[in-house]
Subunit: 291 residues, 6 copies
């Protein structure tokens, strides 16, 4: 029988971003309406949509060989899995998320110890219990089915909640008193599967290509011409690590430079390159980068 890698794709808020990432990395995954078994254009992979919260559990048990999920849920489930690579591709921000302990703005709680004897609502029950236990603070941790940030003060005294920008907490007039954990998406693998040579190479290739797609997202290609005498002045304006490919023009009157730039610095670099005498400056989009 042919080799197959059972791969878990996170269902829900990360799903579309994950499918888009795989497409940029070279795999088209088709989510067929309500089916939980999307098709993929690679006969060596079998996909399944699984909630991020449950992914680590199923990877650990071997129902899946590998999967993408947040580090937070690996910790919540205390799953014994292989961590292959971190991947930050969240659609909106590319930031990591934080799980924080938050209380009403006008409450008298300013540090975790102030919550002794209180009710904490959270989706991350086990992790939160271990956190408070490690500090010897007696609290009641209740599972929250959602909308956790509207619960204080009516339905809970404090919450342990995930936040990216803090805007939802602010909108609900909550104050952060402690950051419990930072988390980002990871590609994880079952330990037995990762010991198998074929699966190990397949997983590593997927990791390489996902990272190549992520690396391309924030970068652009830059081409420019420079007269012979200006080469040093122009290259001095490029970021230190960019090491351009320099080719001599066939007419002998200068050089063509080709380099890769971080997208965020382009708006500052191009005006300087032009001032230094570069001509024919052209930026083009990239789809994969392996430096």
């Amino acid at each position: 029988m042919a080799n197959k890698l059972k791969l878990g794709i996170p269902k829900g808020s990360l799903q579309d971003a994950t499918l888009a990432l795989f497409e940029r990395a070279g795999w088209r995954i088709f989510a067929n309406g309500r089916s939980y078994f999307p098709t993929i254009d690679d006969v060596e992979i079998e996909c399944m949509l699984v909630r991020a919260q449950e992914m680590a559990r199923y990877v650990e048990h071997g129902a899946l060989d590998a999967g993408l999920t947040g580090n937070d849920w690996v910790l919540e489930n205390q799953s014994d899995v292989e961590r292959i690579t971190s991947l930050t591709y969240s659609k909106q921000s590319r930031q990591t998320v934080k799980w924080v302990l938050a209380v009403p703005e006008d409450s008298p709680y300013y540090k975790p110890e102030d919550l002794a004897g209180k009710i904490i609502a959270t989706e991350l029950v086990e992790f939160s219990k271990r956190y408070f236990a490690s500090k010897n603070i007696p609290v009641t941790v209740e599972f929250s089915w959602g909308a956790t940030e509207v619960k204080p003060p009516t339905l809970a005294d404090a919450i342990v909640e995930v936040t990216e920008t803090g805007s939802s907490l602010k909108a609900n007039r909550l104050r952060i008193i402690e950051v419990l954990m930072e988390s980002e998406t990871q590609l994880i693998a079952n330990k037995t599967a990762y010991a198998d040579a074929w699966k190990r190479e397949k997983i590593n290739n997927i990791s390489l290509m996902l990272n190549a797609a992520i690396a391309a997202q924030g970068r652009v290609g830059l081409l420019l011409n420079v007269a012979t005498g200006l080469l040093d002045a122009v290259t001095a304006e490029l970021p230190a690590l960019s090491s351009p490919t320099v080719s001599q023009l066939s007419n002998g009157e200068g050089f063509a430079l080709s380099t890769i730039l971080d997208e965020r610095v382009v708006r500052e670099v191009i005006p300087k390159l032009k001032a230094a005498g570069a001509t024919g400056i052209v930026e083009y989009p990239l789809s994969k980068v392996v430096l």
Copy 2:
């Protein structure tokens, strides 16, 4: 300070149907975008959107005086609350839901006992544990974050899942082997709140009006004229319990009948009334019925 009733409205799949029911019953509730505190046109009520799964917990603790939730979640939480009335107004079907134990169609499991030693995935963890414990069947019950019906056989051996028509189970090739519970929406109240005279009357009035709106939904008003000699023949075609209001016409040539009919029988009753000699048959819609 004025009296206020703290009322929990179920957030999620039942929310729109619930707001529509309250509107038909005489209260307009405005869900303001993402706020969890909808406004209501009754200064004596304060609303909060709460997940059905958590409603009974908060009514029991007194954070809410009353709320609507399924009987299933009252049982899951084993909450000590006052049950005021059952309300069946689910948008699609008006049926009750069932929680069933289901296994893959082609699995070798045919009764609960066959699942000894197996993994059961469900959202109703505590109820399921008590069910299997009461039968002395040792199983592992795992909390499912959703999409429970796609888990067998890969991620679980069996599930305890809610179903209304069974079509989702069938689509996932699952077979029901036991019905664990039937459940319907209920208006529940905090016991202390219900002991307060003002709150008790307010809750009872809400119960009366919600039931009046539900009763109207499946019924219609019927008016018809009948000549003096045909009165008995025509009334004989009306359902036994309909007891029409009969008024004599001022010209003395017959009677005007006014009655309420179950909407489902109208398509059979009207042809018979016409055959029996009724004239001027008119059906009109109702918005509340208190028989």
Copy 3:
């Protein structure tokens, strides 16, 4: 085996209006996504969605016992079916449609005979051929797969096309030179099925209820009070055929009138009734009317 009536529902532009009509008449039909076999809340009926163009063919052959389709397609297919009742419930206008012979505004064609030797594009090929043959006008009739009204003069010389208001013809700068047929929706039945007593009664009841729902759509109920001396003046303002139900008020000071009015005259009648002394004028909506 239980009796079953096989009923064809027209798929396409009339589908939603037809399902709405059946709902008002007392039958709920659920079109399940892409299925062509909608469910209906009547165990004695089996529905199938069929294109209006093909309905008469399948009713004639007996694959369906009854169905709704336009008279135009009965004629196009020259189907030998029982015509039960005409039903005008088209969502926008309640008008009948016309099939017309149309030519470009600035063409030299003014009567059918002018088109001898020309190309006619139409969806109604057989009917059009018979029409021109009956007049001994030699033309080429070509089947048009749609967008017939944009074909002249580039792709055809004239068209036979359906129109309700003529606005699409006008927008395409076409001129009507002859009305070939007026058509409206009909309930038709297979002749053998209609000879069966059970099916005949079932079809007749459906016909009665559909007509009751259509009759209600353009009518409203009117209640009003009138003092004893003004009864004649007030009733004189009611349309001739409305024959109100008159009940004496228990206080002996006048009468309560109840009647049914055509919705289109209400805006003229109410001001006159008020001027004649009627009080407490109330209009309420109707859902079925069998006069």
Copy 4:
């Protein structure tokens, strides 16, 4: 030539509510996509969509015989028109709107006089200028093309802005320091047109029917039966002005009552009626009411 009434319908935020009101009143107006000349099912009326801000200007000049617009814009334009009736049918709230003078929450302005020498942004330029002139407060009034409430303090010192609930002002952290005007929608007529007998009657009939539709919107019909001895107790629970129609039942055992109630009191009245012994209580919807 036939008589025609040229009627202006307010384009924009009130348009859908106005078309719905006319439909309930008995006239169907069809807005044909982007056309400004909607069709109406009354050959005696010709409609035109006109911005509320310009309506009074065109009614005054006679380009329109009548139209619906806010009183605010009549005053802004100081138009000399006939005011026929006020109409409060705004879809959301049925309230009137207010034009207020508002300043940033944390500004040092607390009364109009504090704004001497400042910049006021508003859509209601002329009215605002007259207001400040009448108080001898020198200010600069600038026309605002929209989003007026975000201008202070960056782009203006204060604003004159319309508000219904005040929520938009609050969201922009503005404080109301004066209410300049309350305004509601009015049916206005050109004075010459209103002097013409035919047009006057037509306008008055439209006014009567629009009011009949508005009156029905907040009311419902109520039917109930009451045993002979309980008639007084039951009627005592009805609002003072409801004066029910009482008919004796033909079996002599009681009365049938029919009345109209304000929708807002139904939820309080029905429980009391039931407690007083009423049976067969039925509420039905109304579409027009002329008391």
Copy 5:
């Protein structure tokens, strides 16, 4: 007068994909709402939207000089046209479609001959008749107005239907017993028009550019650097036909390679290139390719 090419664009399911293809090829075509005459940014071309089923007929007659349609409809109409090029750009799959003879899964028909005397429903009436005639199998071929695949067994015994993936046939429980034809989109031309030198060149240029855009769609550009000694090892990992452009770096320490790759092999090639020592691997998107 200037030269003009009359070009038919297929209306319907292929329309959006065709407009997108032309845009990638260098022509912007604007479909103006409901107009059948889209504008194009090339004064030498005049476009018309025509149903694929009718395209070949109008190209043959000369109403159009060229057009895009499926080979199936050229065969159905037996049109005498010039076939310029095949184009496979269907949005979903890039596959060709098949017209198949299909019967109910559980029917007793297993080869075309089994259908003697039966009813065949299809949109491709003439082609199907010729097919069965060529095999001397007597059948009745009926024109189907759509939804052909739901007709067996109720409304037809078998169908001739188009399919891309077979999923719709499977969903309707049909079994394929014969593939009658494979078909793909073609650019076709009127024979007289194609004999004209100007039109011939214009059509050929369109053909070249459409193919250039299609060729680019499944390919990407790849840049990479390689140290002098590793050139052979790295190029050995490139697909045989890719023939990279190799330029010496100006610092003399290696080479820059530029090549075009089939998008489907990138995910396998990049890991191998990296393993072979390539650095600075960059993939960028292409919009046209003429090899």
Copy 6:
């Protein structure tokens, strides 16, 4: 305190196109729902959404340092601002707009002078008044709140209206009798701000990058190989100003050319390049171009 540039973004029809332009130029601006203060990923810039009509007024007064608006509104307000650069990036057409004087098709007005004594409706009141005053034509210019083109002849005699393609004027049967002004979007700056060195450089860099993004939009990158002997023939087919970068291939058998082409000529150039012997022709997209 850090330097900040206050930048106005035009709200309304140009908003999305402007945000897209800034994104292509290197700045991400996030419009947060209804907020008028979008965030931008550059700590040196503070954005505000302002109507194009008011932009010049606020830039002139210094509430904003710079902003984008049409030249028409700079002229209407006669604002004294620095004009930095013209930017034509309108989503649909890249054309400039025109303000025209238009009258009903069948009116007797053929030149501005014919409108003496008439009513002109327009959004551009001050500019129009100055235009007619400069020609000594006495007219009444009325402010139009929108839908200006439907006003003649009922509500105005002529209009001064903006048009891009003239299609809306044609649809309303209006005839242009004079073009009053051509206008395009401009980046404008407050004169005091532009005198500040830091703000001047920041504004100039924004101008450079916006122009780089606009320049890229209508251009593409082209790569091709050419054998040694064909270099002249191939380069002869390139547009005069394209000056390709020519690199010798490492195998000595020819050259690799890289150039930038205007997107509109590609469909003509590629067929000629191929005919001249170019191979491996590849077009790729660009995101910025500074020539």
